[in-house]
């Protein structure tokens, strides 16, 4: 046991010395390897963090949202639907929701307007998201004028600004009373945008959804799990698409690694020749090459992952954000909370280290089985 360990340690020691002897060549390989891992790791970290962010946000979402369709398009729901749905056994609460979008001609942004009588009790007052406050340069106590659909200005006094921590949700949000909401949008009474349904036992959700669909054939119940699934699929798909785009980089790297491993310099050839002539066997040289691969791969992998971590979680992934986040005039600036687990690292390992290793097996074997005299003579 001890001798086996010693053999590995000695060969590793030799490997490190021989890698350092050829700094230039190995550094260029390492840099490219590191860049490839950095790109892929940033991507994987970013997608996972976004997925988690979506899951956290949806945790507080209602179990089910019921919309009404007219000619296949979403329409307002009469509030009397809410009473009928509330009487279905298993439903604990039905809340008609009033919300919509408001286009602000001043800065060309869209705001999300939500009516909530619990948080905004006074008429003509509003809670606004921090991005709106920044964009319109207003603060608590100021007036925020909105133009209603009747072309009458609605002056809202800002009662509070939503904390920046909730930016991902609330950057473009304006919360007003339902009375103001109806004035602003000329919204018909007795109607709601949709209904938020809470169900006591989550296992009954599908049954209740089918009951609602039966009761109101023009309704469309949407489960929270369905929304979550859509987000997951969309983010995975975007991530996968980017991996495909990056695969050309990956393939070029593999070709580069193959080339580096095949085109041994005369000096390296000589070195292997000398090693073999002083008694190293083919398995020993193969082990040497194995450790060489491990040292290069591990260094590139660890450095690449650490750099990607900084790129995504400290700098908010400037290289990928545009492609993966989407865009808007008022965009929440948010810092992703770090999530790194073994699974992501395993995926990265399989996408980078495994192809590299595979590409170098055959060239390494060729080098290791060369005849000592031809190797030394070349």
């Amino acid at each position: 046991m001890k001798t086996t360990l010693e053999r590995h340690l000695n060969i590793l020691d030799f490997t490190l010395a021989s890698l350092l002897r050829r700094k230039g060549k190995n550094l260029s390989l390492l840099t490219i390897y590191l860049l490839v891992i950095f790109m892929l790791a940033s991507l994987v970290f970013f997608v996972t963090a976004l997925k988690r962010e979506a899951a956290i946000i949806l945790e507080d979402a209602p179990d089910m949202v019921v919309q009404r369709l007219v000619a296949g398009r979403q329409d307002l729901v009469p509030t009397k639907y809410a009473e009928a749905i509330a009487s279905i056994r298993g439903v604990s609460k039905v809340r008609p929701r009033l919300w919509g979008y408001y286009y602000d001609g001043l800065n060309g942004a869209n705001y999300t307007i939500v009516a909530d009588d619990d948080s905004v009790t006074e008429p003509e007052s509003a809670m606004i998201g921090s991005a709106i406050a920044r964009s319109r340069k207003v603060t608590v106590g100021d007036l925020l004028p909105l133009i209603s659909y009747e072309k009458v200005p609605l002056m809202l006094q800002i009662s509070s600004i939503l904390p920046a921590g909730s930016d991902l949700m609330a950057a473009d949000l304006i919360v007003i009373s339902s009375e103001d909401f109806q004035t602003l949008f000329n919204f018909p009474a007795g109607q709601a945008t949709d209904l938020a349904v809470t169900v006591r036992n989550p296992k009954e959700l599908t049954t209740i959804a089918s009951k609602i669909a039966q009761l109101f054939p023009d309704s469309r119940p949407i489960l929270k799990s369905e929304i979550l699934r859509t987000y997951q699929a969309v983010f995975d798909w975007r991530g996968g698409m980017t991996v495909i785009l990056l695969s050309s980089a990956l393939i070029s790297f593999i070709i580069f690694a193959w080339d580096k491993a095949t085109g041994l310099s005369a000096e390296e050839r000589k070195e292997i020749g000398i090693l073999k002539s002083i008694g190293w066997s083919t398995p020993d040289v193969l082990l040497l090459k194995f450790w060489e691969g491990v040292v290069i791969s591990l260094t590139a992998f660890l450095l690449g992952v650490v750099l990607a971590y900084g790129h995504v979680f400290f700098l908010s992934a400037p290289l990928f954000a545009q492609a993966l986040k989407g865009w808007s005039v008022i965009y929440p600036s948010f810092r992703l909370s770090p999530v790194v687990d073994g699974y992501q690292l395993a995926v990265l390992f399989f996408l980078t280290v495994v192809p590299y290793t595979t590409a170098t097996i055959i060239p390494c074997w060729r080098a290791a089985t060369a005849d000592p005299d031809t190797a030394m003579r070349s």
Binding site: L43, V44, V47, T206, S225, L228, R229, Q232, A233, D236, W237, G239, G240, M241, V243, I244, T282, P283, L286, Y343, A346, V347, L348, F349, F350, L351, V354, P355, T357, T358, I361, I362, C364, W365, A368, T369
Partner: protein, 331 residues
């Protein structure tokens, strides 16, 4: 659904493994056909060099296979929110008819690659390549299975449609469900426990006897293989219940999750490790008297027996510990 980063990683690796496998298989056949140790021709020299390449390739394949097995289950597990009704890997794998065959093939291939490496290791210890034919015939059996596995895995990921309604592990591994998994779950506890402990003690006893006396290795190998199968069935039938502390939950995949301290990885690793080592002893048995092997095989077998015993002992200790200290009590 192929565009999931993990699915891409799995498929890329499967492609590489199949490619390497096909390459080894091709050269393996050349070795089988042209091998002539008495000849000093250039061809023979080249073939002898090729054997180094093939053993290196196979050790990488085995290492990748082991990691892929767990990555596959983990990926299936992380895909479960995409399917209505699925709550863990059991449901995702059930999303189309390729999920479970791939898993079974992965396990079989892992065992076979392990056995191949054992044969290879033993063969390399001798100077005259006595097991060369066995080795490359085994390779010709293993590689097509590896390629088949990659094709089926591709079919699995290509065929995943997120709107499919699948079954949760609760209904898949329960008494009510027909099918093979349901039957394993419904095996009666007491006889299963008896079978588990009897097969394990038999394996450990025969292993100890073999280790000390160097006799009845065949018996040890057979009992180790039987113990592998019984332990796998026991895992679904009763061992997992003690981890979940729920008498109706028979899922073999939830054990891998964080909630149970990832204990599944340890359980499966010890079980697979013990299975490979136990099988390896048996595979080497017929060649014990073959020329130079007479001095090489016995120590290798003894070390394998020791490894198998340690793995199985760990498996028994972990599961028995949980059975004793779990909050679940079964009548």
């Amino acid at each position: 659904m192929i565009l999931h980063p993990a699915a891409l990683a799995l498929l890329t690796t499967a492609l590489l493994v199949s490619g390497l496998g096909a390459y080894s298989c091709f050269h393996g056949m050349r070795i089988l056909g042209k091998w002539d140790l008495s000849s000093g021709s250039e061809l023979q020299l080249e073939l002898e060099r090729r054997t180094y390449l093939i053993s290196t390739v196979m050790s990488y394949i085995l290492a990748f296979q082991l990691m892929l097995l767990f990555l596959y289950i983990y990926t299936a597990d992380s895909l479960h929110p995409l399917f209505t009704g699925a709550m863990c890997a059991a449901g995702s794998l059930n999303a189309n008819s390729f999920g479970y065959p791939v898993l079974i093939l992965k396990i079989v291939n892992f065992l076979l690659s392990g056995v191949w490496l054992i044969v290879n290791h033993t063969d390399n210890k001798a100077y005259d390549y006595p097991l060369i034919r066995v080795k490359y015939e085994l390779l010709n059996l293993l590689i097509p299975l590896l390629v088949l596995e990659s094709i089926l895995m591709f079919a699995y990921f290509a065929g995943i449609k997120p709107d499919i309604i699948t079954s949760c592990c609760g209904s898949l591994f329960s008494y009510e469900s027909g099918g093979f998994s349901g039957e394993i779950a419904s095996l009666p506890h007491i006889p299963m426990k008896i079978a588990f402990y009897v097969s394990m003690s038999l394996t450990l006893a025969s292993g100890l006897f073999f280790y000390l006396k160097g006799r009845s290795g065949g018996l040890f190998s057979i009992s180790a293989t039987v113990a592998f199968l019984v332990a796998a069935a026991s895992l679904v039938s009763f061992i997992c219940l003690y981890f979940y502390e729920l008498p109706t939950h028979h899922c073999p995949f939830c054990l891998l999750q964080k909630e149970y301290g990832h204990v599944g990885y340890l359980l499966y690793a010890t079980l697979l490790g013990g299975g490979v080592a136990g099988l390896g002893v048996g595979v080497l048995m017929p060649f014990k008297k073959l020329g130079s092997m007479a001095r090489i095989i016995p120590p290798v077998q003894r070390r394998l027996a020791l490894a198998a015993m340690i793995c199985y002992l760990l498996f028994v200790l972990i599961s028995s510990w949980k059975m004793l200290f779990s909050a679940l009590r079964m009548g």
